[in-house]
Symmetry: C2
Subunit: 87 residues, 2 copies
């Protein structure tokens, strides 16, 4: 077993409106920044013990499907990195 | 000028408690997933026009300092990628 961190990045699908992102863009523009658009998402860092990187990736995807992302409006990407080997 | 996307990932500093992350971890554990901990953050995708990648990075950091991150409780990372050259 080894300990892994999986970063699940949950973002709205391209066709879904993002009012919070638009409000952020508007505020940045009012502050004088030349930003054309903002899209907001969630960054979820999961720490888990798993047999190997593949198992950690599978588990992370299951957790994203079960709880972390709304499959109707959102999509997600998973990136797994090993933290240390456990004895 | 070229169009860039900058991903600003805003996370809580290590010593700051994350009750929402703990609630997420608790729910995942109740669903049977062997997760040891969860930390939540924000994923901010900025689209902007800038002279080069360095300018886009500087602008993104200024926006993070000015609005996107709370410097007392949060830290952030910026990753810039070029989308296309503008004429």
């Amino acid at each position: 077993m080894a300990r892994f961190t999986a970063i699940v990045t949950v973002t709205l699908k391209k066709d879904i409106l993002d009012p919070a992102g638009e409000a952020t863009a508007h505020t940045l523009q009012q502050l004088g920044y030349p930003v054309a658009g903002v899209r907001l998402g969630r960054h979820v860092a999961l720490t888990m013990d798993a047999a190997d990187e593949g198992a950690a990736l599978r588990l992370s995807r299951q957790m994203a499907d079960a709880l972390l992302a709304n499959p109707i409006m959102e999509t997600y990407q998973v990136q797994v990195e090993s933290l240390c080997e456990l004895e």
